[in-house]
Symmetry: C2
Subunit: 596 residues, 2 copies
């Protein structure tokens, strides 16, 4: 027909021009013998007018068009009358006077309106994902995702990194999360595993001498899903040789700075603040603090160690902690009923209760006030920097419970009291992680990050006898209370890796069976190396200002790992299973039943 233009790009500068448009009927209105169609393509929307005096035939065809029909339209861009200019529409100063129209495809009436505010359920949105994705906010999220990918690539390319593809059909290694398995047809009884991360392969690439690797890598974990988890996810995966921990952190900071600048137009300050793991737990009750607001946890154990209030002194004396948060101005805001609800909330995290005090007219008031001495009261006032109208909330318990419950309470109150400036992007490094955690269930140590993390050199001598005291050369990057990713220096010496597996309770045989190829590779000139992996879906979610991870993934799975659009996973044919020499247990059960 002629030169194609995109709907959302038309403006006054096109007035008088002949344009061809291709897109979807966003809205159709009949008015005084004319038909108005808001035509939508990926660039935006423009109003097209069908006027019988211009083309009667076009008007007749336009009359058949319904919502979401696909049209090709030829027409002239004209100025709107002053009284019909639509300021809320980007192309609202012009419209297109249609001369020709062609219906490229019809559409059934969609199950929900293609607009940002949709009142349909997420289930329906996922079933008709192709319609859901037509909404402007979704289109913008995936443009942002695309752009972010390109900024990151461009940054890493300029830094001399090579983008490299590691395999998807790999070896199952039971250390870590649960693997997704892929049965082999050629080797019946054997399985590949989908990678939980390219960890071992990127280490092998360093041993191969490539020195700077990155990949925007798909990873898989067969875990029970939470709101912010997906069975498959994407990570920005980076590994370098010969760089120090500081150099890797600095590189990451520059990358984030560039993303924030190019995607959000924000200059963020570097270096990012750092906090040690122990301090993060003590001050925020979490290893991923949201530092966009205060209300930090304050350990008041020293003040109440000898208190007559047994709940406090008892907790401290049995090795636990008493900590508090100060809800500024909260004294008048929270009724007894509210406080009862907060008590129920901390119980979710194992706390036995929540004690509280209010500051009113300079006086400390509340049910536990009478158990506290004047000295204790003034000690608390000092530690908690109290002012009039403050609300003090206390948990006394084992340290872990105190931190987790108060940390969660802090976050909940921060959100509810609107203390969080959502325009802020607060990056934070969490450092000085423990190398190992004791797993009560497995009755052994497990790696806090993964078994390839380098211990801090000066702690190395403790690895055999006091593994709990060994720190890791690890660093997590936190953004606005979300773990954006983590990295570490890796073990590049065979003897340390041997010791690590020993500490984790692996026999020599088990270690070789699972990780023999890595152990062997470490003996052939492995350079010092380290890296970082950042959760890309989550990063996009934060950049797009969204709260649902599924809105940042084109075709996400539900909490039960299903795709509502394609209905995957699904049954496969007998023949497919036969080729894999597999039987379903239920099939066996049925066969048994049939025999009986």
């Amino acid at each position: 027909m002629g030169k194609r233009f995109h709907c959302g790009t038309l403006g006054k500068e096109h007035i008088g021009q002949e344009v061809v448009l291709k897109g979807w009927v966003h809205k159709r209105r009949d008015l005084g013998g004319l038909i108005f169609i808001d035509l939508r393509d990926r660039s935006g929307i423009v109003q097209v007018v069908f006027n019988p005096s211009v083309s009667k035939e076009s008007l007749e065809i336009a009359d058949k068009a319904r919502s979401e029909y696909v049209l090709e339209i030829k027409g002239e861009v004209v100025a709107r009358d002053a009284n019909t200019v639509n300021e809320r529409m980007e192309t609202g100063s012009i419209e297109v006077l249609a001369r020709e129209i062609k219906i490229l495809n019809k559409a059934k009436n969609p199950p929900f309106l293609i607009q940002d505010e949709t009142d349909t359920t997420e289930e329906i949105r996922l079933k008709y994902r192709y319609l859901d994705l037509r909404r402007k906010s979704m289109q913008e999220t995936f443009k942002l995702r695309h752009q972010t990918t390109q900024v990151i690539r461009s940054f890493l390319n300029d830094e001399g990194f090579l983008e490299m593809e590691t395999p998807m059909l790999t070896k199952s290694t039971p250390e870590g999360a649960r693997d997704y398995l892929v049965p082999s047809r050629v080797h019946p009884g054997d399985f590949y595993a989908l990678p939980q991360s390219p960890q071992l392969f990127k280490q092998l690439l360093m041993i191969s001498g490539f020195e700077k690797y990155y990949q925007i890598a798909r990873c898989f974990r067969d875990e029970d899903l939470r709101a912010d988890r997906q069975p498959e996810f994407t990570q920005i995966d980076i590994e370098t040789s010969f760089m120090s921990r500081e150099e890797i952190m600095e590189l990451t900071e520059r990358m984030m700075k560039q993303v924030m600048k190019e995607i959000k137009g924000i200059d963020i300050e570097t270096p990012f603040p750092r906090i040690k793991y122990d301090d993060a737990m003590a001050r925020y009750g979490t290893d991923k603090p949201d530092t966009r607001f205060g209300m930090e946890l304050v350990d008041v154990s020293s003040v109440v160690r000898e208190s007559g209030f047994n709940v406090f002194s008892g907790a401290v004396q049995s090795g636990g902690t008493v900590s508090a948060i100060n809800v500024k101005g909260g004294a008048m805001e929270f009724s007894r009923k509210d406080l009862d609800q907060l008590t129920e909330f901390v119980k979710i995290y194992g706390a036995k209760g929540l004690a509280w005090l209010k500051v009113e007219d300079g006086e400390i008031k509340g049910p536990i006030q009478k158990f506290l001495s004047d000295e204790e009261i003034s000690g608390l006032k000092e530690k908690l920097h109290t002012e009039d109208r403050d609300l003090l909330l206390f948990v006394a318990d084992q340290t872990k419970i105190v931190q987790e419950s108060l940390g969660a309470l802090r976050l909940k109150l921060g959100k509810e009291l609107n203390l969080i400036d959502s325009s802020k992007f607060n990056f934070l490094w969490v450092t000085d992680w423990p190398l190992l955690e004791y797993d009560e269930e497995l009755n052994r140590y497990v790696a806090a990050h993964h078994p390839f993390t380098m211990p801090v050199e000066e702690d190395l001598h403790k690895l055999a006898d006091h593994p709990e005291d060994v720190r890791a050369e690890a660093y997590d990057l936190v953004l606005n209370g979300y773990e954006l990713g983590g990295g570490s220096l890796r073990i590049h010496k065979k003897d340390i890796q041997d010791q690590m597996f020993k500490t984790l309770g692996f026999s020599q045989e088990e270690a070789m069976n699972q990780f023999g190829f890595l152990m062997e590779a470490l003996e052939y000139g492995a350079p010092p190396h380290g890296g970082i992996a950042l959760g890309f879906d989550r990063f996009v979610m934060l950049l797009a200002g969204r709260s649902n991870l599924r809105d940042t993934i084109l075709f996400p799975k539900t909490a039960s790992a299903s795709c509502l659009l394609t209905e995957a996973p699904s049954r496969v044919s007998e023949n497919q299973l036969k080729e894999l020499k597999l039987k379903l247990v239920e099939q066996l059960i049925n066969e048994e039943k049939a025999e009986v």
Copy 2:
């Protein structure tokens, strides 16, 4: 220690500078009380000299270094004496006088030398892939691969394409190659499939209105492997809405032009030549002609239809073909024994024999000459443009056998006679494909490309009754005799897709069960769309001038789909299978045995 430099980047301009180098011992020589180490990093190699008069301590440490040890060295760049300048080494005009050295890691003696010419087996190379990848030619291949990826991305980004990630855990659809399956733990008995291509998802993205999509996508096919196949491979996957076939082909050509310019420094001509599928088969005996040399197949059926030579006339009269190739100057080159070998070769492709004639001193000679009339002889001479010393090779059979056997023979002779200019990059479009092929085994039509390919509009009416005559809106891109990829316009109308599935022998229920989500999506405003997918591994292989696909994949699998490095696939634990509610058939057999 100081500022890091890369070995291969040092030159005369650095003379007098203090540098820190980190890399591997490529070679070590002791000479007159000095130690010379060729230090290698990803940039190249430089010679480092340890001189006792500079640092006795460093010399002593250097004395311990062996091949592939990882070193950190500090020293001064100095000019070499005129008589020790090494012209064959990029850094051969200088050397580094070492002042300090640190052994970062030791290395066992590698199982093969880290150099381009390696005489070890591919098996050993794959087992120690991390050492194999240290070789310069491998390093260069993966740098080229990285660069090619970036050129393609940059081109597509500039064209307004969005890079988008489609799922890896998808639905199994039996049409096409064999799927890799992934058992679901949450839904026992159900399976995901790994994608053979993002075909359906990219079509859904078009229906979502994104208009221009690309992905450098990992794809999976559980096929019996050939030398140029891998169970997982990478394709450049492109889809667009509203573009015509011509526009998609033109876009692809510009992309290829840019890659060739930026990666190889070659200006290739566009538009690429085109050939119809039928002509490709008739003239080259293959749907992926290597046009870097001539020796085309010539159909001489019309000349020999009535020949007294029954082999010829019989083939033509029973509906087959007689074709020939003219091996220029081959008359003296090929002995009887050679010709017997060529006969054996064409038999692989089902030909019953190979007839030949030689042109010697203007005379046609050869065992079949006596069966041919003068008229036939002169007809052949004319058709085959014979000159003195030509060798004419004939196959008479069913057309398909004639084409395949002579096509293969042409390629074999082209290589053996060095007719192929390996510096050429001959792109070629193959168009006018049949939409369907009759599968004798399945006793039904199958899609020549895939069931979503748009039939040529003017052939549409034949889809029900004469499906074999329907052409597809498909185009394959061929480079130097390799199928680089293929594309097509897709069916965007529900009724045509319905008819297509019907022609393929699907019941309504089967079609809905497998592809219901697509069928439904086509009803909600699907735009006209199409695209292309290019085999990236193969493209890199051709760009890198390599002949083994495995050399372009970092961690490839063997012909039995195994990874010799990690030993994937492998057994998994009882518990993993139990969670998936699966049993191995062999396990069942063993259990049965145990019972007996």
